[in-house]
């Protein structure tokens, strides 16, 4: 059940579409910058497989230019 945080860089002019699409995913929470295009995505998933799937889903969105992993906590680290 990993938890990860990312910085998302949208394609120019596609920020709102990207936000809507990621918001629609169950395991994601967003924190939006109010004076820059980028925003933060935090994923909280039930398994490593779901974690990978959600990552693949986001990185394949055409509105996304780039996704940078910032922080990651594995099951073991969360339950410590």
């Amino acid at each position: 059940m990993p938890i990860k945080s990312y910085i998302a860089y949208p394609v120019d002019g596609k920020r709102n579409e990207l936000i809507m699409k990621i918001k629609a995913l169950d395991s994601c929470e967003l924190n939006l910058a109010i004076n820059e295009e980028i925003f933060i995505v935090v994923t909280d998933t039930f398994s490593e497989d779901e974690d990978k799937m959600i990552y693949e889903t986001i990185v394949n969105m055409p509105e996304l230019k780039h996704l940078t992993l910032v922080s990651g906590f594995s099951d073991e680290e969360i339950s410590n």
């Binding site: 990312y6 910085i7 924190n31 910058a33 940078t68 922080s71 990651g72 969360i78």
Partner: protein, 773 residues
């Protein structure tokens, strides 16, 4: 149980968000998040304790969340005036460095080339017997200890007392020689006393910040965030004066690039302009300053027999003015690459009587073959304009390590130093012997080896035993091939105390597993003279033992136990109480433990229950013996404005090796990465080192981003990935390589030249060639 786990998940999620917010702030200075202020961490089931951060010299106050005997969470301490609740990505993930899978837990002894586990008792017996045997057969100066600006204060103090006061050798050095020795000699030659006169509160008052070769956005990110915050609130200006374009340049109001080594000339040109435009604060200079010059053409320390002693001579203002005629901005422009108008612009900022100016610097001016001179020159600018020792006016030399100031500089873990004063001074030796309770004859009156000299002596065989604690020289020493071979030679005995295996433990005969940071009680001292205490929060794993205790155990075995009568449970506190006797008084008095236990650190001099935030100014400093400014480090109470010329570095690019090589750090990794590379998220963020190339030159050489590139100097060669137009962008003719990655030992290529006054090596300049592989 379910609720506890749920709370833990909410908490971890908020930590992950905080880390991303902090990263984004360093990438996009001034960025504001809708929920930034809402990251309130759930605190159920956690016992929060304060500690200074383990990593850099900023000295952020952290709160560590402890649960079931483990450190599980970190947040910035809102009570700390250093970071005001902020932390950087390293700080937020710091506790994860305690739990790497390959943590050293048992002592290892090399037998027939293979490391074999042993007990701590047997390992310490072996260390003590090898030391005794070496001293008996080869003399006291055949044994040495090489420590660190990451030593806690009690650890460094015990090392100094054992080696200087008991064994009777001055063979003690710390890796801080590699990062801030030039800052020390800069302070000593200009003011007669070490460490900055101001404090971080200067950030809240200054109008202009000039960053001299200092990528603060990555190296001091929390202080950089504080500057950016001030820009939003008060419209301050940040000038980045550097040799390559970095995240700091991108966030600055103005980025000015100079060619390596020519910062010397530009600083003099700024002084020229200040005088030419009558921006000199005449009253301040006449009352508080004197002018001196030293030797010139002073060499670069490249040979084993190199020796240098400066001979200061008094000069006057007129002679200084004539000297500066060589540094007219238009002349300096020709070899510095800095437009005359930019030099004049910087001079005008310093010269404007209505602007308060802070200069920040760190490794750029320090790791420099004229490092002492560069420090002197920045002070010259502040002294000429009188912008010093008052809120917002501050020449501020930052440190890299968490206790470079507290342990290395203040305890004096260098060959020439004592906790107070110098080994060469009879009075200082007598004072140390009295506090240590040792015969004064024990302390030798001559310094032996500075760091480079010590590793050269190990190579030559004059030093046969070296104990290395809390540092990783087999990654960090310049011209590394020579010194690694030296350490591996027959007849050398190397002991390494560390928390993880490193290239330095590879060359050890004995590896002692160390307790790390909050697994012991300790104190660090940061860049702004702030001493911070933390108590032991965790039990060290396996047989790991803190460095000070290892030294005490060996001292006992060597027969010096009577000089170290501290209790086993509370020795760190007892050592601190003994140590503070050295600094008692208005000039360096340190806060007592009961204050440090309550507060998020305290600045020294601590006088009548108060910290002295600005020294040498009678308005703020009770040690001043006259009204106004009093630079009491010098007997006449005056600061020195030094005549220091531009001189070329030891090696410059030529037709065979046409590029400058510059080395440094990245925000995600701490120094050689031995801890941060074990934190998965930091490792994944920057998994390997790389070489930054100028985009145009990369294209001309047919090199694309992530291509393999061979870098060769006269001392070594390395193949690594190219980085083009990514984090940093060097100008034409320069490349940059971070040194955190032990798989790419860039110091096999660097040159072991050093500043002849500070003996600090220059990691920023040597000549290399580049080829696509």
């Amino acid at each position: 149980m379910f609720t506890q786990n749920l709370n833990r998940r909410v908490f971890v999620k908020k930590m992950a968000t905080s880390a991303a917010v902090v990263s984004a702030v360093s990438l996009f200075p001034g960025i504001v998040f809708a929920e930034e202020q809402q990251v309130n961490l759930t605190e159920d089931n956690l016992n929060w304790k304060k500690a200074p951060c383990r990593f850099c010299g900023v000295g952020c106050g952290l709160l560590i969340g402890i649960s079931n005997g483990k450190a599980v969470a970190v947040k910035g301490d809102p009570r700390s005036s250093v970071n005001k609740g902020l932390a950087c990505v390293k700080g937020y993930h710091s506790v994860m460095a305690l739990y790497g899978k390959d943590r050293l837990k048992k002592p290892l002894v090399k037998k027939n080339g293979v490391f074999v586990e042993t007990s701590m008792k047997e390992a310490l017996d072996l260390v003590a017997s090898k030391m005794s045997e070496t001293i008996k057969n080869h003399g006291k100066d055949a044994v040495s200890i090489y420590g660190s600006g990451q030593w806690a204060i009690p650890d460094g103090y015990i090392a100094s007392k054992l080696f200087k006061g008991c064994i009777g050798t001055n063979n003690i050095e710390a890796n801080a020689r590699l990062c801030m020795a030039s800052a020390v000699t800069g302070f000593m030659t200009s003011f007669g006393m070490d460490e900055p006169m101001g404090c971080y509160e200067d950030i809240d008052y200054a109008n202009v910040f000039v960053l001299w070769g200092n990528n603060m956005a990555e190296m001091h990110p929390v202080l950089f965030s504080r500057m950016l915050d001030q820009r939003q609130k008060r419209g301050i200006k940040i000038i980045d004066f550097a040799t390559r374009t970095t995240r700091t340049s991108n966030a600055a109001d103005k980025s000015i690039l100079f060619k390596p080594q020519t910062d010397l000339a530009v600083a003099n040109a700024i002084c020229y302009e200040i005088i030419k435009n009558n921006w000199v604060n005449k009253n301040f200079v006449e009352t508080n300053c004197k002018f001196q010059k030293g030797k010139t053409n002073i060499g670069h320390g490249l040979t084993d027999d190199f020796k240098f002693k400066d001979e200061p001579e008094q000069i006057d203002f007129d002679a200084f003015k004539v000297f500066l005629e060589d540094y007219i901005p238009e002349k300096v422009e020709k070899y510095s690459g800095v437009a005359a108008r930019d030099i004049k612009y910087m001079a005008a900022l310093y010269g404007d009587p209505n602007k308060k100016v802070v200069s920040f610097w760190c490794m750029g001016p320090n790791q420099h073959t004229r490092g002492t001179w560069m420090n002197n020159l920045i002070y010259n600018i502040h002294l000429l304009t009188g912008k010093i020792s008052s809120p917002g006016n501050s020449p501020f030399s930052l440190t890299g390590q968490p206790s470079a100031c507290g342990t290395a500089r203040e305890v004096g873990t260098f060959t020439h130093k004592l906790p107070k004063g110098l080994v060469a001074n009879e009075k200082d030796r007598a004072f140390a012997a009295k506090i240590w309770g040792v015969p004064v004859e024990n302390i030798p009156d001559k310094p032996t080896h500075h760091t480079m000299s010590m590793f050269r002596a190990l190579d030559r065989g004059e030093i046969k035993f070296m104990w290395i604690q809390v540092t990783n020289p087999m990654v960090t020493i310049p011209n590394l091939n020579r010194y690694r071979k030296g350490a591996e030679k027959e007849g050398r005995f190397i002991v390494v105390s560390d928390v993880y295996p490193t290239p330095t433990t590879d060359v050890a005969d004995v590896i002692l597993p160390s307790a790390m940071w909050i697994e012991k009680t300790g104190l660090f001292g940061n860049s702004e003279r702030r001493t911070q205490f933390w108590e032991q929060m965790l039990t060290p794993p396996g047989e790991a033992m803190d460095d000070g205790k290892q030294l005490l155990e060996v001292a006992e075995r060597l027969g010096y136990g009577k000089y170290f009568q501290y209790s086993k449970e509370n020795y760190a506190e007892e050592v601190y109480n003994e140590y503070t006797q050295f600094h008692a008084g208005k000039k360096h008095g340190m806060a007592p433990l009961e204050v440090l236990k309550k507060e998020a650190g305290m600045i020294w001099p601590f006088v009548d229950g108060k910290p002295t935030k600005w020294r040498f100014n009678s308005k703020y400093d009770p040690a001043c013996e006259k009204e106004g400014f009093h630079f009491y480090g010098n007997e006449d109470g005056k600061a020195v404005i030094w005549q220091r010329p531009y001189e070329a570095p030891a090696e410059s690019p030529d037709s065979e090796y046409p590029f400058w090589l510059n080395t440094g750090r990245v925000v995600e990794h701490w120094h050689t990465g031995s801890m941060t590379r074990r934190i998965s998220v930091l490792h994944k963020a920057v998994p390997n080192s790389y070489v930054e190339l100028n985009p145009e030159e990369a294209k001309e050489l047919g090199i694309k981003n992530r291509d393999r590139v061979r870098i060769t100097s006269r001392r070594g060669t390395i193949v690594m990935l190219a980085s083009v137009n990514e984090r940093g962008v060097p100008p034409r003719g320069q490349v940059f390589v971070p040194f955190f990655d032990e798989h790419f030992l860039i110091n096999e290529l660097t040159l072991d030249s050093y500043c002849p006054i500070s003996n600090e090596p220059d990691y920023k300049k040597c000549a290399v060639k580049i080829e696509k592989v």
